[in-house]
Amino acid sequence: MTNKLEAIAGAKDEWSDKVLSPKLSKLEIAESPTRFYSPLDLPDFDFMESVGFPGQYPFTAGNDPVPTWQARARQMAVAGYRYEWGASGSGKYGGFATPEDYRDYLLRMHDIGRKGGPNIAFDLPTQCGYDSDSPWAEGEVGRVGVALDTLRDFEVIYEAYTGLLDIDKVPSNFTINAPAAIIIAMYVALAEKRGIPLEKLRGTPQNDILKEFVSRGAYILPPEPSMRLFRDTLVFCTEHLPNFNITSIGGYHMREAGATREQDLAFSMANGAAYLQSGVDAQLPVDSFAHRFTFNAFGGSMEIYKEVAFQRAARRMWATMLKDRFGAKNPRSMMIRQIATAHVGCTSTTLQRPLNNLIRAVVGGLAGAMSGGVPLAFPPYDEPLGLGHSLEAQQLAHDATRILIYEAKVCEVVDPWSGSYFMESLTNEIEEAARQELEKIDKMGGAVAAIGNGYMHQAIAKSAYERQKRLESKQEFQVGVNCFDGPHELELSTSRTVPDVYDSELLNTAEERQKAALERVKRERPEKEVARTLLELRRQARDGGANLLPCILDCVKCYATLQEICDVLREVFGEAKPATG
């Protein structure tokens, strides 16, 4: 082996002298802009240790020897079944205006064959713990998602899910973090009302509060009490909701906020470790809950080689951490389960020449397929044009995915880069860089400390600015943005011929209608019960050992509002302060 490597090293020197250097001289450049990898870049490669077979530790090659969707791909095409790629049983992420408006939208989607479970986007007041009648809510009600104040609103949304689509049959997805405990309680209350056993409930709350402090900004309480609420949801779900996921950890949001690849990976691992530790600290065996952790498509950029390596490195890092640091025994606990793998991320899309975004998304889809996931052509091309993807853009995205699967057949090989000198080197490099960053955070005392002292937040802000500087100084290029633009620009308008999915008239009147609905609920609910349950919540919140979920469940069942519950928590725990650095 060594002899062979020596021979290759000799050959490389010769190639460098006789082939590469003359070419560089001819081109009048000192350094090559390209690289070529050989066995010299991967001298100690141990396949079983670094890669392994798909579906086995350390999961570098993927979670699954045969992805279920791939096994059913032919049947789905023959039957014309419009699978919502990348949504694992729930439908397209969406939500707008009032619960009634969103319910009607869902029913329209069912009518055109899109029958996945609800994948709910909540408006900002809901995400930040304010009711629709709060001064904070002005202008924001029903904008980035559906407005939700009380259990009534939840019940209205779910009028679209009965019979064959009842909640014991379809999963739900809730993009909710700070008030995740309240939304989980509402889901449980709904199941109780419908007589559905809790063990039948499937779904995923985002419930990833730590990244809110560094990237998404929808926090309510300071980091430490937020982790108390996380622990309470983890314990409650583990005890009562065996088929419901606990969290969906999102490096994706940090990347969108500007994090580098290594920061994304290290911060996600650090946040994940903090969540795992909270379960361990609550005396639960790690294998009793770690398999219910999911990830939210983390990663996201146009550099597809690096994104493929990122996914492979992430799977290996998480698996190693679960096994070595947390002592997990169940392989399922060690997997990064996520709806999609590599993709381009929304910040790669541009407002200029929006159809180019479709091409960008296809590149991401290819990376997805090469990194153990669905070739998801995400996002739809009209992402930067404003809220709500048009049906036309959605269909184009779905078709791009279908073309990659059925025509390009990109998913016929699992981990096609396995054993490549190049990809294995790159995977090692990215893992090593993230590991160094993770060690730095561990030295600070872990994720909660690195959030509390502002480290993660500032690091991401700086990285975002560095990238912008590279674009403005043309060290990096974005087509149609900082190159190939200029005087010959065509005057184009993007024709969105299919009507908008979110009716702007409904959006404009949502705030008034939702406030009226809230007032009605407040008039009709058992006021004494509301006061009693909120008082009990205040008492229990002060007892650090108590699990607040049963208490919150009592509050929502008598139609206490989201803000009333959050206000009690704010009073006991204080509020998170925005960073200005």
Binding site: P135, W136, E138, E140, R216, T350, P384, Y465, E472
Partner: protein, 132 residues
């Protein structure tokens, strides 16, 4: 040491929107362009923003909004600025602003709208050419 007073800019995030990348990039970028920049951080009520603008004696308020609530929030900030006698402060809006809303914002008193992806240099040049 500057002979001329440096232009002072308040970069503000009104409402509940948590998209901070644009605000960070613009704040850092304008600082590098030689402006005095104050960043409010997330979650500011329009009234807080107007108060900060007056207290800090800024020439420009840059509002970053990507939540779709730009019409309501911008109107409120401008109203509050007028109430506090700071109607002469230049108001700029950045974020994801649909084309059809740009004239509406300008009618309210917004001097210019810069959508996501605008080079910071372009914003800096715009401000300089309008204030000096």
């Amino acid at each position: 040491m500057d002979q001329q007073k440096r232009i002072r800019v308040l970069v503000a995030k009104p409402g509940l929107d948590g998209h901070e990348r644009g605000a960070h990039v613009v704040a850092y970028g304008l600082r590098d362009e030689g402006f005095e920049v104050i960043y409010t951080g997330l979650r500011q009520m329009p009234d807080h923003i107007a108060t900060a603008a007056v207290q800090e004696d800024v020439d420009v308020v840059g509002l970053s909004i990507l939540s779709g609530a730009h019409l309501t929030l911008t109107r409120k900030v401008i109203e509050k600025l007028r109430e506090k006698g700071a109607a002469d402060v230049m108001v700029l809006v950045g974020g994801v602003i649909p084309e059809e809303d740009v004239p509406k914002l300008k009618k309210m008193g917004v001097t210019e709208v810069f959508n996501a992806g605008t080079p910071v240099k372009k914003i800096a040049e715009f401000v300089r050419s309008h204030l000096t």
